[in-house]
Each structure stands twice: as C-alpha cells, then as structure tokens.
C-alpha cells in the first residue's frame, strides 16, 4: 500500500525532500515503517530527535497504517 511521507524542518534538508511516497506491505505498523526508514536515513535512529504523526495526530507506533495515510516525520518542535 502507498503511504505519503512528509518531512519538516532540518529533516527536509538532510533527506533532500519535503515529501515522498513509499510502498509498504498491507497491515504494516507505523513501527515497521519507521524501522525501514531508519535503515535508509540513519539520522532518524536518534529517537530523542524524532517525532512522528499519522494523519496529523501523534499515535502509538503499534498503530496499523492504511492505504493513503500521511506519515510526517520531524524534529522536536520550536514554536511559540
């Protein structure tokens, strides 16, 4: 199934893109997706610097992803 990835802040600069698509097996969890992304982008392994949202919400990594979900990856926020 297709998942839409979005990246923010310096993740865009390291990865070289603001968004991307990825095809993953049906019934994949968010954790499985992150494991795959961490192999490709090793800087994501530093979990103190990684926040993840699915369809605009913070969720547990055990959540099952669906076709067309938007998964956003970003560093700790600095608004305000």
């Amino acid at each position: 199934m297709k998942i839409n990835l979005r990246f923010f802040a310096y993740f865009q600069e390291i990865i070289g893109a603001k968004h991307n698509e990825i095809i993953i097996p049906e019934d994949s969890t968010l954790e499985a997706l992150l494991t795959r992304l961490k192999k490709e982008f090793k800087f994501l392994k530093n979990k103190d610097h990684l926040l993840v949202a699915v369809n605009g919400k913070y969720v547990d990594s055990s959540v099952l992803l669906k076709e067309g979900d938007e998964v956003a990856l970003f560093p700790p926020v600095s608004g305000g």
């Binding site: 802040a9 926040l51 970003f74 600095s78 608004g79 305000g80």
Partner: protein, 151 residues
C-alpha cells in the same frame, strides 16, 4: 459540535503570515462577563545563544498545528474554567522585533487567566508542529525544542 460553535472555535485559532493586532483580538473576544485578560506575545529577539539574529523563518505543518492548537485551547478552557482563548501564530520570514505569536485569555478572574495562558504556551512549545530557523551572523540554525506529546 454545532456549526456555529465550530465556527467560533475556528476564529479563535489563526495560523497566518500576516501581522496581528493585540487590541483587535482582545476587542473581539472580550465579553461583559470578562473580569481579566492575560495576553502573551512572543517576539523575535535580536540575539540567540550569543549570536546576533538577522531574521527568522517559521515553518509549520499547518493542518496538524491547527488541530493541536484547537485541542490545547479546549484543554485549557476545561481545566482552568476560563471564558475564551485566542491563539495566533505566524509563519514565514520575520524580522527582529516582529511579533511571532499571541495567546489571549479572558476569564472572570486573574488567577485562572494567568494559569491558562501559561499552560497554553508550554503546550505549544512541546507539541505543536512549528519550527523556527534562525539566520544569524554566524550561520543558519534550526531551533530544536523539548518535546512531549499528547493528542
């Protein structure tokens, strides 16, 4: 949620590039039962960690930030019993001394107004997907904050 109530909430939360007027926002949200207003305005500083700041750029994950700000507003109103909260946050390129964001709280009394304002600010800094990039005389740096999340 009824449509009129939803519309009222939408008007209280704004994420935009343009500057805002503190007076206009207070005039809009203050009612006859308001006894206290507390406002916080965040402003672009001229220095950061010893470096001279020339400007900042603010990036936002808009859809998610809108939802998070609405949730924070609702949590604060429920927890502190205040009357209303407006939150404005700008994005894009901002110069030194420009306003970044504003929280405006109206309540019957000052104690809950102060507490609600503090809560909203701290939650924004923990979980709303907004990031600042500082352009300084020594280079460009992304500001990385603390993180803690809830829905």
């Amino acid at each position: 949620m009824r449509f009129s109530l939803l519309l009222a909430v939408v008007k209280m939360i704004k994420i935009k590039k343009e500057n805002f007027s503190v007076d206009d926002i207070l005039d809009r949200i203050t009612t006859k039962s308001t006894g206290a207003t507390v406002t916080f305005v965040g402003i672009v500083r001229s220095t950061s960690k010893g470096k001279i700041v020339k400007k900042i750029e603010i990036q936002v994950y808009k859809d998610m930030a809108q939802k998070q700000l609405k949730n924070i507003r609702n949590e604060a109103i429920k927890s502190f019993g205040v009357e209303e909260i407006a939150i404005i946050h700008r994005y894009g390129s901002l110069k030194v001394s420009e306003r970044i964001m504003m929280i405006a709280v109206i309540a019957s009394h000052r104690q809950e107004a102060f507490e609600a304002c503090r809560y909203v600010l701290e939650e924004i800094k923990k979980r709303v997907p907004i990031w600042k990039k500082e352009f300084t005389e020594d280079g460009t740096f992304w500001v990385e904050g603390e993180h803690n999340k809830s829905n």
